[in-house]
Symmetry: C2
Subunit: 613 residues, 2 copies
């Protein structure tokens, strides 16, 4: 973790670059509707090439047709996170708004991210003993009313079908907001004895919740998800299952999505409507708001009692089953965008990226074209055969510079460039999306299939873990390239320490028999040491021991972590006064006795408070 820490250029700490805000993105933000939501080549839109690329001269090549190359602008992330998010979704063609308020069309590039999520989880669900199946989405209204807290939680959000086949229906039908009720109705018919347990199923489906404030991927009227439902003979088994599934989600988040989620238990106030316990994974987005990225519920016997889902145990006694349910949705796609993206656009972890490697052939003269394209095709073939997701962008309607920008904005982890000189030397140039400019660019990688394949796979692995480390650093140590206003403080502290230690050493230079160069090196060493410690101080999760400290942390946009044993009323008061809620009681708890930040009374656990999506 330390090795991956990249120190900021000091200048950047003092000159936050407030880029021009285009009228286009302003309009977009106000209307909440991207005017650029059009097919790529149809967009009268292209950011002007920013890469200083001496290999490419778009003006000279004569292949330029970048119509209106100034109006595809992504609002800088640091300037307006929400506008940036909507710009990225529109420009990277992830999603578009549907005709009905709050609905979303998931476009191929965004859907492919969802498919990557599905592919991984679907295997894990089966490995852990679950079978896929499908329940109808229409649920009799009376079902929803059976579980008291469930109806209270969901009734304001329901879409109701009242007319079918031209006739008014006798009973209104709920378009499923979640399936616990209909699942229990069916389980009651399938479960008879202990031999039928555990019953462990999952479905991939759409669900509808009549949300008032919507945001693509994060909260939409209809969304896609998987919902697991299980029934067990004992409370212990159900609890084990609920924990197992939150663990599957946690591993997915870390290993595939490169998102360092915090797993824990929800407070009573935040527990799912109908559950005894809700486990959650909470992720810190780029604006430091929390995203609840997946939940797993121990439903106890709430639904089985409401629906009479019983079994005969080994002693012949009738018992209610113990249940769980757990879900991850297309919201996770939003989480990936908001965790890794930067001012340039999307940045995708290789294991989620619909395209892992984009190949951009470069030629100027007509006689170069065939050789370059042949080499590019052959490289593409090599990497495809190695199981990688490869795109060869060989259109001649766009310049290489335009393509570089476009695929960077789309977050493709690696770019391979092949020009005439590369063809002669049988090598390629490879650029990393996560390291901008020349630092991320390596020349002269051999085209020899085994060498190229190994090199590309290694780099993709590096990017995968680098993105995770970066997100961890941002959350726990406020890493440089995510710094914003609040970290000016951090920059000042570091510079003071550096200058102070330099002055200190200079004063004693004779005593230590140091020359100035040596002294400078010593200072830098010391600086690195201190900075590492200071990043921790500057973490985006702040340990607090009083309500005042909590309020300060939240007002700075950070997460607060502190001992909690106060009442539900106190929790709601915090929400009202600060906008923050308890995200979870994390599974990883500090040792020792603690005093509740609110009441001073003993507290068993620390809770994490944050504003959230």
């Amino acid at each position: 973790m330390v090795s991956s820490l990249r120190l900021p250029a000091l200048t950047s700490l003092f000159s936050p670059s407030f880029t021009r805000r285009s009228t286009v993105s302003l309009r977009r933000r106000l209307h909440l509707r991207p005017p650029l939501a059009a097919g790529f080549s149809a967009q009268s839109a292209a950011s002007s090439p920013t890469e200083t690329e001496d290999r490419v001269d778009s003006k000279k090549s004569g292949r330029v047709e970048d119509r209106g190359s100034t109006d595809r602008v992504i609002t800088p992330r640091s300037q307006d996170f929400n506008a940036w998010y909507l710009d990225v979704i529109a420009n990277a063609e992830l999603a578009d708004y549907g005709p009905v308020r709050g609905t979303m069309v998931i476009r191929p590039y965004g859907y492919a991210m969802w498919e990557a999520i599905q592919d991984y989880l679907n295997v894990k669900f089966k490995e852990t003993g679950h079978s896929n199946m499908y329940f109808p989405q229409f649920i009799p209204y009376s079902f929803i009313e059976k579980e008291a807290s469930h109806v209270e939680g969901f009734s304001p959000e329901l879409a109701l079908v009242t007319i079918g086949g031209g006739k008014e229906l006798e009973e209104k039908l709920v378009v499923r907001p979640t399936s616990e009720t209909i699942v229990n109705h069916m389980f009651t018919q399938w479960i008879h004895s202990y031999r039928d347990l555990p019953l462990m199923i999952n479905q991939w489906a759409n669900v509808t919740r009549w949300e008032m404030r919507t945001k693509p991927f994060v909260r939409t009227l209809e969304f896609l998800w998987q919902e697991g439902h299980t029934a067990h003979a004992t409370l212990e088994e159900a609890e084990k299952e609920a924990l197992q599934m939150i663990d599957v989600y946690t591993k997915f988040a870390y290993e595939q999505a490169a998102i360092p989620v915090i797993a824990g238990r929800k407070s009573k106030v935040e527990t799912f409507a109908g559950a005894d316990k809700t486990y959650t994974i909470e992720a810190m987005m780029g604006d430091r708001k929390a995203l609840q990225a997946g939940t797993s519920h121990n439903l106890g016997q709430n639904f089985s009692r409401a629906f009479g889902t019983q079994f005969t145990d080994e002693n012949g006694l009738r018992q209610h089953v113990w249940q769980t349910s757990w879900a991850i949705s297309t919201r996770f796609v939003g989480g990936i965008i908001m965790t890794h993206g930067d001012d340039t656009g999307l940045m995708l972890p290789p294991r989620i990226a619909p395209i892992q490697v984009v190949i951009v052939p470069i030629w100027k003269k007509v006689d170069e074209k065939t050789g370059v394209l042949d080499a590019a095709s052959s490289v593409a073939e090599t990497l495809k055969n190695a199981g990688l997701k490869v795109k060869l962008d060989d259109t001649d309607q766009r310049t290489p510079g335009w393509k570089f920008n476009f695929w960077e904005m789309k977050g493709v982890p690696l770019r391979i460039e092949i020009g005439p000189r590369d063809v002669s030397s049988a090598s390629v140039v490879i650029s990393r999306r996560d390291i901008p400019g020349k630092q991320g660019k390596v020349f002269g990688i051999s085209m020899e299939p085994s060498i190229l394949e190994a090199y590309v796979k290694d780099r993709l692995d590096e990017i995968q873990s680098s993105l995770l480390q970066r997100a961890i650093s941002f959350r726990d140590r406020c890493s440089s390239d995510r710094s914003n206003g609040s970290c000016l403080l951090h920059g000042c502290i570091l510079v003071s320490i550096a200058l102070g230690s330099f002055n200190f050493l200079e004063s004693f230079s004779e005593f230590f028999e140091l020359n100035r160069i040596h002294m400078l090196l010593c200072t830098l060493d010391f600086f690195a040491l201190i900075s590492n410690a200071s990043w921790t101080l500057c973490s985006n999760i702040v340990d607090v021991s009083s309500y005042e400290e909590l309020k300060e942390a939240i007002s700075l946009g950070k997460w607060a972590r502190g001992p909690w044993s106060a009442s539900d009323a106190d929790e709601l008061r915090i929400k009202e006064e600060t906008g923050a809620t308890i995200r979870c009681f994390p599974f990883e708890q500090p040792q020792g006795t603690k005093a509740c930040l609110m009441t001073g009374k003993p507290a068993d656990e620390v809770a994490i408070f944050a504003k959230s999506y």
Copy 2:
């Protein structure tokens, strides 16, 4: 095809076995609701072992607990096809009824068949250049009204959401019956120039049609499907795409589902609401009714004109796009059941089967158990590593005989039996689902992984092609094990020929210098030759040249194929008078000039008429 023809035992032709119809299945048929729709081990149900299996003695083993072993009875297929179908769905745990009339819960075993369909098609769609995406299911009512014939076709079938979030909605929302309208609404925003074309997408989704007569898988209120939607610059491209996709479906049906569909064009009357042309694949079910198993529509410019979906062509002119849409649904699962199933239950083609090989360990004494189970686990591991879908049924709550019946009913293509004697000889016994009894059983197959793997894979390939050949024979040559009343005729013809030729040869035996044995052999050879020809005469598709012939064929439950150039009114008259509709004008057409079966006027094409689901 000839080699796979299996001649019927003559006795079977004269003694159709009308098995006792259980009251359970009667009740089920009348209520259209299987009372047995319960978890397997919970079912108080097990067919009594019918296999004469000297290796297994369920009564002696002491491990029997087949509670109520008489009431899981599948109605014989020949007796009542519909009751048989519902029994199979209930007993094989493919689906269950949802709480809302006409809805269906797809249970894991049925859903796994749908997953096999998805896995194959999803790859093919991507190979042919389509991307997956997702459109919202709520469509403003006004959209449906935009395309005249579309609203006429779909408005009686709509489910409407009128209340959302507790409030009456200003505009009613249609729960998608199909997505052409919303797709065009979005295409209009994404398509601007010829460079944006072709636009080729697909979505896997649920759709809702308020059907009055429902039947699991075949016709339900809500069903799962994929719907492809494409937009092209020219009519020719759209036509090519529509044909390409019906071809993908055809290949899928033949190669994966082992269903010999007939691909062709729908008549004007049967064309999709909003399409210029509809292509279809039509399958003959076991009761000889037709099932429309997949369709591909050339939509022309109907929707693009209604929604203003235009592009600027290479000459700068605005043009409406040319479109297609195409779909296959969970109905196909019903098609697989009804094509291959028999009185014993399901019979699944290996490429669709959720379980390809079931392993049943057999032991009597306790000291045999460990050895047998170890060997069974090792065999299971070998086959799983070979990429096969394997189930090791090692529960000791059921007897081997019970398991044999259960997995046969579930249609598992191959069963491997391993007993103590097999363990000593390091071999296994393998039984084929498609060849009942001892004929389908082979002893002494080595457990050596490479030998076993090769043997099992070869048998699965054989079963796959055998099922297809059988379905072809049934349709085109009325194969034996599907025979019913109408084929008594066929049996009589064959017997007459056989006796006739035997008498003939006997009369001339001296002349030919034949002894009786030799003569019998000659007769049998001759019999095989003739029978092959006679099957063709006895095809379930009958060529007709007049309306009288058509009526006769339909009344015999067969399909009729005849030249057609008559009016829509004549077509509707046939539907009213016979219940049959034009299923398609098949792509494969006979040569030569033809006269319309109805009018006698010249006809370019033959059409296929049949009763259908």
